[in-house]
């Protein structure tokens, strides 16, 4: 299968950096060590024709060792193949290489991920909050923070079983 081929290529290139390959999801999914994420993506773009960054987003698993994750979706437009790359970092040192140099479009997606999860993208040209107010002092998408606005006065949560 072509996914195998892709995996082989990546494996020969990066050896232990590729931690896991998952196929039970809808598209070919790789878990990559945080330190080599940039080079993996660069390799995919330059040698495997994944020229299109579809998406980049964060995720939070509070119960895991590496709490914070970043998920990249790449797209090989010509052969119409997609690949999903996941990488995880600990919450204490949430540092990850920025891929803005490879894909300009990653700029705001990384800023958004920083805003939501506090993941710090090293090498990002302007890593500031993008959607939230600048004086916000927490990262709202982390699971421990509530959704609701504390100032709402016209609702009683008890009625909703939440």
């Amino acid at each position: 299968m072509e996914n195998n081929e892709l995996f082989q290529n990546l494996h020969t290139q990066f050896h232990e950096s590729i931690l896991l390959e998952e196929t039970n999801h809808d598209i070919f999914t790789l878990v990559v060590e945080a330190s080599s994420i940039k080079s993996v993506i660069a390799f995919l773009k330059d040698h495997e024709n994944f020229i299109f960054l579809t998406d980049l987003c964060g995720i939070h698993y509070p119960d895991s060792d590496l709490e914070l994750g970043v998920i990249y979706h790449l797209h090989n437009l010509v052969e119409n193949k997609r690949v999903r790359i996941k990488t995880f970092v600990p919450k204490a040192t949430p540092h990850l290489d920025s891929i803005v140099e490879i894909f300009s479009g990653a700029n705001w997606m990384e800023r958004e991920t920083f805003d939501f999860y506090g993941i710090i993208f090293v090498g990002h040209p302007k890593l500031e909050r993008i959607l939230n107010v600048e004086y916000m002092n927490y990262h709202p998408m982390l699971k421990e923070y509530p959704l609701e606005d504390a100032t709402r006065s016209d609702k009683d949560d008890a009625f909703f079983g939440r």
């Binding site: 010509v78 609702k155 009625f159």
Partner: protein
């Protein structure tokens, strides 16, 4: 295979360039296009206006328009709501508040089931009229109607209680157009306990 100006990637065979940027010399003269445009606007000048004079003339809304809610009574004038709470649960805006109460013996003619909502409030400012409550209701009790919620000058006037929501006994609100033909057919079957 990174595209550049010479080597454009082509993904399908269906593409077609649609923008023509070269102007003919007639188009360069400005005037023909201007006259054409003026002819179009003038043709509309003499067309009948489509404006609906709203407060005096009402535009017909569709039969299933999602407007102000109604709490239905059954044929004998008893409130259908049984305070199961599904509507409140299904509300994305969390606009519905209800308190359930047990029906007493002498309230048989008022409430249909053993439980009823002693308090049923919808915050119309929060409500987004998505119709989830109507879909969620298993007792044919809450429906949205094609009435509008009027605007108010004070915020607390938007908490609609049972006094507004429950349909008046003498003037029931017809919601049969919102129901599927199957439901309407089912409603005719008076042997079913639901329809008694």
């Amino acid at each position: 295979m990174i595209p550049n100006s010479k080597n454009k990637i082509v993904l399908t065979k269906r593409s077609k360039v649609v923008s023509n940027k070269t102007m003919t010399w007639i188009e360069r003269l400005y005037l023909p296009a201007i006259f054409q445009g003026m002819a179009i606007t003038l043709s509309h000048f003499f067309k009948k206006e489509v404006t609906i004079q709203y407060p005096e003339v009402q535009r017909p809304v569709s039969d299933i328009y999602r407007g102000l809610h109604v709490l239905k009574r059954d044929d004998q004038g008893r409130e259908r709501c049984t305070a199961c709470g599904l509507c409140a649960l299904s509300c994305p805006a969390e606009a519905i508040t209800m308190i359930a109460a047990e029906r007493k013996e002498d309230e048989m003619h008022l409430y249909r089931e053993e439980k009823y909502a002693s308090l049923y409030e919808i915050n119309m400012l929060r409500c987004i009229f998505c119709g989830n409550c109507e879909t969620a209701c298993p007792k044919e009790a809450i429906f949205l109607t094609e009435r509008f919620v009027p605007s108010q000058t004070k915020r607390d006037k938007f908490i609609y209680g049972k006094d507004v929501l429950v349909e008046p006994k003498d003037a029931p609100i017809d919601i049969s157009k919102r129901q599927t033909p199957e439901v309407l057919a089912f409603k005719k079957d008076k042997t079913q306990s639901h329809n008694k």
